[in-house]
């Protein structure tokens, strides 16, 4: 359907046929719709965790639970897919039935649009009923602990929109199949705007786009791309003007990009990274140091045993922590385990992530504070708090009524009296205390006593972050304490709630280091030691061996007691060195680079290579043009991978009869889009079967009348003298040419039975 057709299009509900189509689709699909709605509601209830919640004394369920959200979007996608298949597939693959449909005296696009409208309606019914029922659970007392806001159904509606988009994508895929004999792209025209609206909605509601949306988008684009390529390969653009063909040739690679990118990432993740030794960039091996036996630097997220842990001894050999030698070493010399409280102060995004009050999307489960920790201490109140923009809102979990607001000035009853926090404030919460902070101030928020106090202020704006401190429990476990570090760009303050905080000053020039860990060491004489661990290299598996780390040890009063060096691990055994170098097998690297579009991968590689990236928090200019050699190699491989595909395309395009300019354009396209562009190049040119020309003997397309080589037409069927034509069919008779075999003067022999 063209744009002008669409504008002239009569509203479907006005036509009798539309009513009948709705009636027919509803009658045909009603049981399936009902079944889908029941199943979806059941899994959504399961996702809400009601089966667990019912055993609890107080309601804990809320609509932002990840189980509900996952089941919801996945269910909607499956319903959309199944609806399109159920609605059209049986007809299309029943050839004569589909022929009857195609022969109906209505515009085919209009007819499909009408049926798609009915299908969308049914999708909305099958997905919407569970959504309504799930929201209705709110009205059952003691089930949902969350107040109902207008924002809550939005996430479910976004899921429904996803389901509809998937329905349209599937519909488009079905209609583009050869059996459907359908190439009008109606569904594509509807699918793409739906997809755009969908993504916009997700983005606008600040959903975690990559986690929840990328796979549906990928599935939809994959379907769309498959049928789009199929349509092009069937000659869909044959009768279009040159600009339409150009648009087609451009759209297809773009549509191919995301699915292909996902495939490439999957290949890398499955094959390359899984075979990489020490894949986590934060992970550091145990190392033997002379004074302490050995040291292990733990990170916050390493609260579990890692596989293949080894201790690098000073002589370069390795042993496992469970080996007798290691145990004896631990018994004879006290091991030092540095428990990092922040992975990287100079790059705080690698550290403990504070919440942003702005991330208040439907799918963001973190917007619900860890209510258990707070409410458990004061069971009478049973409150929980939701950061609502610039202040906290307190609800009663049972009545779900708003009880008050908490801002900078503390707890108030009326909303108009609340003094909001700054927009850029961030919330850090662990154990039973939480802080709101930005560069200029840190507030401690006590939700139990409903008090807010200014913990510290920095007029110069040099506050970096607030760090919760872990208590080292045993080899594999840590837990939060009630203590925090306040981190400034020149010092750290411990125990900030006391009147006289302990201060640890940075004695080194931070600009010379790529990484700074603040760590709590083991208890010595019942005192905690604090370690500032400076790492001069950026943390990458192949990079952190290059120079030794420097550690300053402080006592709890903030006095530096000693410094030591953690030696580098350059003296790796040859075997490990080889393994390290072979972390990313060349084959898979090549495979991924061949299919990864240049216009995405090259900037990504440059970004990751730290060219465009530097720490903003400490205002340090550490974008020193540092490009690890791996990335230089990677970029070069990426470039050559695409280039190779582009070069392969040259002879193919020339053999297709394209002009040099046209060929060059395609090479550029392929270079930009890599394998996606190459596939588009192959698909967008209809390549009919060829046969040998009876005149000149060269191959020629069976779909053209004249041979491109000798300009002769295909010969007419051979006459054998038995043809019977009378007057009105003289045209047919005239076009049949005599052949030597049928020449009456040269009769064939005939056997008689």
């Amino acid at each position: 359907m063209s744009v002008s057709d669409f504008i002239r299009y009569t509203h479907p509900l006005r036509t009798i046929a539309m009513k009948m189509i709705f009636w027919k689709e509803f009658r045909e699909q009603r049981l399936k719709v009902l079944l889908a709605a029941i199943v979806l509601f059941a899994v959504e209830v399961y996702g809400l965790g009601l089966h667990i919640d019912l055993q609890a004394e107080n309601p804990q369920s809320f609509y932002g639970q990840s189980g509900l959200l996952t089941f919801s979007w996945l269910g909607c996608l499956l319903i959309g897919l199944a609806m399109a298949l159920s609605q059209f597939l049986p007809e299309i693959y029943h050839r004569d039935h589909w022929a009857t449909v195609l022969h109906l005296p209505v515009h085919r696009g209009k007819h499909i649009l009408q049926r798609a409208a009915a299908g969308i309606f049914l999708c909305i019914v099958s997905m919407g009923i569970p959504l309504i029922l799930a929201i209705s659970l709110y009205f059952i007392p003691g089930v949902i602990a969350e107040p109902l806001t207008a924002k809550l159904p939005l996430g479910g509606m976004t899921d429904i929109l996803f389901g509809i988009t998937c329905y349209l994508a599937t519909l488009h895929g079905i209609l583009s199949s050869r059996g459907a004999f359908w190439r009008r792209g109606v569904a594509m025209g509807v699918m793409l705007p739906a997809l755009v609206i969908n993504v916009y909605l997700l983005w606008h509601t600040r959903d975690s786009l990559l986690q929840t949306a990328i796979w549906p988008i990928a599935i939809i684009l994959l379907l769309g791309t498959a049928c789009y390529g199929n349509a092009l390969s069937q000659g869909a653009s044959d009768n279009q003007p040159w600009f339409a063909r150009a648009v087609n040739a451009t759209l297809l690679p773009i549509a191919l990009v995301i699915p292909v990118l996902l495939v490439s990432v999957t290949i890398v993740v499955i094959f390359a990274l899984s075979t990489t030794h020490n894949t986590r960039s934060f992970w550091q091996p145990w190392r033997e140091i002379p004074d302490y036996g050995y040291v292990r630097i733990r990170q916050r997220h390493e609260n579990y045993k890692m596989k293949n842990e080894v201790i690098f001894k000073a002589d370069g050999t390795t042993i496992k922590p469970t080996d007798d030698e290691a145990i004896n070493l631990a018994l004879s010399k006290r091991p030092l385990v540095i428990q990092a409280v922040c992975a990287d102060l100079l790059n705080p995004e690698y550290g403990y992530n504070p919440y942003s009050l702005e991330s208040d999307g439907y799918r963001n489960t973190d917007r619900y504070l860890r209510k258990i920790e707070f409410t458990a201490q004061d069971p009478q109140l049973l409150w929980y708090y939701i950061p609502d923009g610039k202040y906290f809102t307190g609800y009663d979990k049972k009545t779900r009524l708003i009880m008050g607001y908490m801002g900078k000035s503390g707890f108030v009853i009326k909303r108009s009296e609340v003094q909001p926090f700054e927009r850029q404030d961030k919330l850090i919460v662990a154990a039973s205390r939480c802080f709101m902070f930005n560069r200029f101030h840190i507030y401690e928020v006590n939700l139990n006593t409903r008090q807010v106090s200014l913990a510290t202020a920095s007029p110069k704006g040099n506050i970096v972050t607030v760090l919760p401190i872990y208590a080292f429990v045993d080899h594999d476990n840590t837990q939060f304490t009630d203590q925090y570090f306040f981190v400034f760009n020149d010092r750290i303050e411990l125990n900030p709630s006391s009147t006289k905080p302990v201060i640890f000053r940075f004695d080194r020039e931070l600009g010379e280091y790529r990484r700074l860990n603040i760590s709590i060491g083991p208890m010595e004489n019942n005192e905690t030691n604090v370690y500032l661990h400076y790492s001069p290299t950026y943390i990458e598996p192949e990079q952190y061996y290059t120079s030794p780390d420097l550690v300053d040890k402080y006592d709890v009063k903030g006095v530096k007691t000693s410094s030591f060096t953690i030696p580098n691990a350059r003296a790796l055994p040859d075997e490990l060195e080889t393994r390290k170098n072979a972390a990313i097998p060349p084959f898979y690297l090549w495979a991924s680079t061949l299919i990864t579009p240049q216009f995405i991968m090259t900037p990504l590689a440059l970004y990751r290579s730290n060219l465009w990236w530097h720490s903003e928090k400490l205002d340090l200019d550490d974008a020193s043009g540092y490009i690890p050699s791996d990335y230089r190699d990677l970029i070069s491989i990426l470039l050559s991978g695409s280039l190779m595909l582009a070069l392969i395309a040259w002879p193919i395009a020339r053999r297709m009869g394209k002009s040099p300019l046209h060929t060059f354009g395609w090479m550029l396209n392929i270079y930009t889009f890599a394998l996606a562009g190459f596939i588009a190049f192959l698909l967008s040119h209809k390549r009919g079967r060829k046969a040998r020309c009876p005149q000149c003997g060269k191959n020629r397309s069976i779909s053209t009348e004249l041979c491109p080589h000798c300009k002769s037409p295909w010969p007419a069927p051979v006459r054998d003298g038995s043809e019977i034509f009378d007057e009105p069919a003289t045209l047919a008779l005239a076009e049949m040419s005599p052949s030597p075999a049928s020449d009456p003067s040269q009769p064939e022999n005939i056997a008689v039975s």
Binding site: H97, A99, S722, A732, E735
Partner: protein, 326 residues
């Protein structure tokens, strides 16, 4: 409700109508499915008001030709048009003038007979003739409240025909409508078809391999053989141009071990004890000379039924397949 009483006597000889612009036109249509060539250079022109029988054995390209004509397949080469419109871009208004009955007699099985009619009628506002629908339904003794799933094959064909005829199309395209029907159902179907031909200037193209059906209704026939159009003529011409001879010999006829020389138009030769039965298309003066060359002492012309003629014509022929099949 009036049951149609189709009577062939009431039919006007459609071929006598003045030649008008063709309703259907194939121009050098060739169709490949992969490497298989199912239609080759088919050119056919069907005038208005003509009942055309498209004949051929199974798999000779009849259905493909019809699907190309109605825009459900695309020809590899050549063009087809209907009512002057390119088959690839038939407008809805033109489709409304074409009644199409595919061979599988597909209807929505979960709908009742009445609901099938109501659903189809919604696509033909102002054109649907409920009286015709009801008449054909009554002719096939169908219960309006019965689900289509429960209909017999013949009843389902009747329902499909009713759905096809009710909009009173100017052109009726029937793809082997009697396929799989018992003789009674086939006769009913034919009667209904004959009923609709009473309307002046209505054209019908139907494919079949049942000669008796064709003989009853068709003005002209076209025969497809391995995708090639071999005949396009009136039934009378077909009968006249296809002759059967009994050649008698003094003594035994020539041995089957030594092949007889073929000649143009020779379709079939069957050796019996003392004679040879020969079927020839387009016989002329040269034909009897060739019989004489074979050594025949007498030549008798025998009666040939249309079915025999068709079998001789559309059956396997050595000259066409390149093999010796006689």
């Amino acid at each position: 409700m009036t049951t149609p009483t189709p009577q062939s006597e009431q039919l006007q000889p459609q071929s006598d109508l003045a030649p008008a612009s063709p309703v259907i036109e194939f121009r050098r249509v060739t169709k490949f499915y992969g490497k298989r060539e199912v239609l080759r250079d088919v050119s056919l022109s069907i005038p208005q008001g003509c009942v055309y029988g498209l004949l051929g054995r199974n798999g000779q390209g009849k259905t493909t030709a019809i699907r190309i004509l109605l825009g459900m397949e695309e020809a590899t080469r050549g063009t087809a048009s209907v009512f002057g419109e390119d088959s690839r871009r038939i407008s809805p208004s033109t489709r409304a003038r074409i009644g199409y009955l595919p061979e599988a007699h597909s209807v929505y099985g979960w709908m009742t007979v009445r609901e099938n009619g109501q659903y189809r009628s919604s696509f033909f506002p102002g054109q649907w003739k409920q009286t015709i629908f009801d008449s054909v339904i009554a002719h096939f003794n169908l219960d309006l409240t019965q689900r289509a799933n429960g209909l017999s094959r013949g009843q389902r064909a009747g329902l499909c025909l009713a759905l096809t005829l009710a909009p009173e199309p100017d052109l009726l395209v029937l793809d082997d409508p009697a396929l799989g029907l018992d003789p009674v159902a086939r006769r009913s179907l034919l009667q209904s078809m004959l009923y609709v031909t009473r309307r002046a200037n209505r054209s019908i193209l139907f494919s079949s391999h049942v000669l008796a059906d064709v003989e009853r209704v068709a003005d002209r026939i076209a025969i497809l053989d391995r995708g090639v159009l071999r005949a396009d003529c009136t039934l009378e011409t077909f009968r006249n141009q296809l002759l059967h001879y009994i050649l008698r010999f003094n003594g035994a006829p020539p041995s089957s071990g030594s092949p007889l020389p073929a000649f143009p138009g020779l379709l079939q030769a069957t050796r019996r004890e003392r004679d040879i039965a020969v079927t020839v298309a387009n016989p002329d003066a040269e034909t009897e000379k060739r019989f004489a060359e074979w050594g025949a002492t007498s030549v008798e012309q025998a009666e040939l039924t249309l079915e025999d003629a068709f079998i001789a014509y559309a059956g396997d022929r050595g000259g066409k397949s390149g093999g010796s099949l006689f």
